[in-house]
């Protein structure tokens, strides 16, 4: 399954990631606790100027309702701005290819997609979005939606730490500091490394290049109404078109690429996303992009440890994430290197290469797939629709588990903390003690919030997939027949409801059904858990500290890590096993049966 090089680059990658957890986590803790960092001399004045212009009083802390209200208000403003940019694209500057405006349905879907850190894309960047849209419209949301997620988890951590107060922090300060001190500097450095590897960064018009060998294709004839013409035998009437030169798209790609991975956003500049050679040209750029996806989510576990005063609490959560990651990667690697019996019987050698690029190699490609779906990133370096049945089930399952395997920036850790609370509660029931986590009593309110956080996306997925299956237009959008088609629909809705954004991309998603119901799924999947978590932050902050006693379950040791892993897997299996059985598992069994 794994050759020496596969082992070397996989182990190298994990070593680098784990070495960075502590420095990055420490830095983020300093930033959110308002301490001085090495960037303060440079960024401090900018930060203060920003607050002064915006009328933000940094000493004024907020209760959870106000924190949530401000967060929602900021996101609403961002939505309206982006929606307007997409609808008015044809009138705005930096549009050398003269792309027209988005339809309102597509604009609605895309705007919600980017404010919710989903970056589901029902359009192709290179043939629909101007440079202005990509930068002023989309890149800015890659920053602030990520900073929003991080702010929420920081507020939750403060809830655990603080005693008998109603205040959880200042949203403006948390969001601004996350963007200025954490996201911008890292994105700037990463963008330049990406350019060194060949990621483009320019504002030129698209470049034409002659083909060495001319090619041709049959272009369907269209009638006056724009419908394809058919001849007497109902065959498409076509014209032969000779192609002597091609048009290569350009643009400010690297700046968006860096933050797209770092903020676990995932919206590609080009349709092929991180598989496009201009977004991801070399093995080094590839491993760097995977690292950027996991860096902040992994580092936040250490930030959490520092802020709650016991870094082992953070390492425990990181261990659970790592364990699930390694299991998912191993299964995917096995499935893709084994390919399918139908393909190997033909005499094809080298694993399943459909929808994969040669330069990354099998192991690195699979590493990216696990990283992007274990987090809420959703960038892709391989086409998930073309994975083998069991291979395709891995990204789907990681999304359905709620994106906690490192998880989205902020959102991954707060969802993981919700799972931890459920694990503490269930074990508390078993041993007959009042459950406590980090010195705070877990009561009815915390349980409600945790359950809402974990199940809201799942409920949306199951209901909307059911509706899709009885909606003719939604079914007709499938690209592959049978069980694989069901997987495409399930994946699309799971991806939107969990704010991932990757796709089994054969599905023709730019239809009203997916645009509009998908918008709803993205909104529920993002803001219901976000507000619930802030409510929990408020309720925890108001509680007094309960010192650990003999009956307290230690949550910073290996048994708890294993127990938490089991709880995650059981909740995931109970919710989604029937749906997975009808999609990828049936497909796998029929494949083995030779059909």
């Amino acid at each position: 399954m794994m050759n020496t090089y596969d082992w070397q680059q996989t182990l190298f990658f994990f070593a680098v990631l784990l070495l960075l957890v502590k420095p990055v986590g420490t830095f983020m803790a300093k930033v959110y606790q308002g301490e001085r960092t090495f960037l303060s001399p440079l960024l401090g004045p900018c930060e203060n100027l920003l607050y002064r212009i915006c009328g933000v009083n940094t000493n004024e802390e907020m209760g959870w309702q106000r924190y949530a209200g401000t967060m929602l208000l900021f996101n609403l403003v961002g939505f309206l701005a982006l929606f307007a940019i997409l609808l008015l694209q044809h009138l705005l500057p930096l549009n050398p290819q003269e792309f027209p405006a988005f339809s309102w349905q597509l604009a609605l879907n895309s705007a919600i997609s980017f404010i919710t850190n989903t970056n589901w894309q029902a359009y192709s960047g290179e043939s629909a979005a101007s440079y202005f849209t990509q930068m002023a419209g989309l890149t800015v949301h890659n920053f602030v939606s990520a900073a929003t997620g991080m702010a929420i988890v920081i507020a939750l951590i403060r809830g655990f730490v603080r005693r008998k107060t109603s205040l959880v922090g200042n949203f403006w300060v948390d969001m601004s500091r996350g963007t200025l001190y954490i996201l911008l500097p890292m994105a700037l450095v990463a963008a330049l490394v990406l350019v060194s590897q060949g990621v483009i960064q320019n504002f030129s018009s698209y470049q034409t290049a002659p083909l060495v060998q001319a090619t041709n294709y049959d272009k369907p004839q269209l009638d006056e109404a724009g419908k394809p013409r058919l001849d007497a035998a109902d065959k498409l009437m076509t014209d032969k078109v000779i192609v002597n030169e091609v048009t290569i798209p350009m643009g400010p790609v690297a700046s968006q690429e860096a933050i797209k991975e770092l903020g676990t956003n995932g919206g590609g500049f080009f349709n092929a996303n991180s598989a496009h050679p201009y977004e991801n040209p070399t093995p080094l750029s590839h491993l760097l992009e995977i690292l950027l996806i996991l860096l902040i989510p992994a580092g936040l576990t250490y930030t959490f440890g520092i802020m709650v005063g016991n870094t082992r609490q953070g390492w425990t959560l990181l261990a659970v994430m790592l364990l699930l990651f390694v299991v998912a990667f191993s299964v995917l690697q096995w499935a893709e290197t084994s390919s399918t019996p139908q393909l190997t019987q033909l005499g094809i050698d080298g694993g399943n290469m459909e929808g994969k690029e040669v330069r990354f190699g099998m192991a690195s490609t699979n590493l990216f797939t696990v990283a992007t779906t274990g987090t809420s990133c959703g960038a892709v370096a391989a086409m998930h629709d073309s994975l083998t049945p069991i291979g395709g089930m891995i990204p789907l399952s990681l999304i359905l588990l709620g994106e906690i395997v490192f998880g989205g920036v902020g959102s991954g850790l707060y969802t993981m903390l919700a799972f931890a609370i459920i694990a503490v509660f269930v074990s508390g029931l078993m041993i007959g003690r009042t459950p406590e986590y980090l010195g705070k009593k877990i009561e009815v309110r915390e349980m409600w919030v945790s359950i809402i956080t974990i199940l809201s996306a799942g409920i949306v997925v199951l209901i909307l997939s059911g509706i899709a299956m009885i909606t003719p237009s939604a079914v007709a959008a499938m690209a592959n027949p049978g069980a694989h088609g069901l997987s495409e629909v399930l994946y699309a809705i799971a991806s939107m409801a969990n704010n991932n954004g990757s796709a089994f991309a054969g599905l023709s998603a730019n239809i009203n059904f997916y645009n509009i119901l998908g918008s709803l799924a993205m909104l529920i999947g993002r803001y219901v858990p976000a507000v619930a978590i802030l409510a929990m932050a408020g309720s925890l902050a108001g509680k007094k500290y309960v010192p650990p006693s003999l009956g307290t379950l230690p949550t910073d040791k290996a048994p708890f890590a294993l127990w938490l892993t089991l709880v995650i897997l059981i909740v995931g299996a109970l919710t989604f096993f029937p749906a997975l059985a009808l999609g990828p598992i049936v497909e796998h069994l029929t494949m083995l049966g030779g059909n």
Binding site: M135, L192, Q201, T208, Q213, A272, I348, G350, N480, P481
Partner: protein, 189 residues
């Protein structure tokens, strides 16, 4: 009311910082430090005209050229304006038929034994500039015969444009199809 004003101003300022200043700074630095890469890694002919990009594959089907991977881009293969994979599920009967046809095409062109998967399965971007060294080795005999060159000459051109794993262990070894075909055309037009 005060919060609405803060929200509007915050959003405008962050749009200026993240959507304007940040990409502009990256562009400025990139154009100075890595101008070739930032502009698209283009290959130019002696007259300075762009003849392609090292990173963007081109379609080749004539027997005298090294063939690239199948491409699923719309209208025609390797259409840079429509990067995409096939999104075919590997159990889809129509897809298996397509793969079989590609395989028969290679067999007809003299390829024997196990065939490299990348030569019959389409890439993710549809623009993959590379094939595996194994996929290139399938084609040496054919190209040598068509061009009246020795197999050693063709091999030498291929090796010259083969990149090893980056830093000796990252990614996979790969062969740049466009670069090889451009050089083959200069050796034997």
């Amino acid at each position: 009311m005060k919060e609405i004003k803060s929200a509007l101003l915050m959003f405008i300022l962050f749009t200026v910082i993240c959507g304007g200043i940040y990409p502009a700074v990256v562009t400025g630095l990139a154009q100075v430090i890595f101008p070739r890469q930032a502009r698209g890694s283009f290959i130019t002919n002696p007259e300075g005209k762009v003849v392609g990009s090292v990173l963007i594959g081109q379609p080749f089907s004539e027997p005298k050229y090294l063939w690239p991977r199948p491409s699923a881009t719309t209208d025609f293969g390797y259409n840079p304006l429509a990067s995409s994979g096939s999104n075919a599920g590997p159990t889809n009967p129509a897809y298996l038929k397509t793969v079989d046809e590609r395989l028969q095409g290679l067999r007809a062109a003299g390829v024997t034994g196990p065939v490299a998967a990348d030569l019959v399965q389409a890439s993710a971007s549809g623009l993959d500039p590379h094939i595996s060294p194994q996929a290139a080795s399938h084609q040496v005999g054919r190209i040598a015969l068509e061009r009246g060159l020795s197999e050693e000459t063709v091999d030498r051109v291929i090796t010259a444009h083969t990149e090893d794993r980056q830093f000796g262990f990252m990614g996979a070894p790969r062969v740049n199809v466009l670069a090889i075909n451009l050089e083959l055309d200069t050796i034997s037009p």
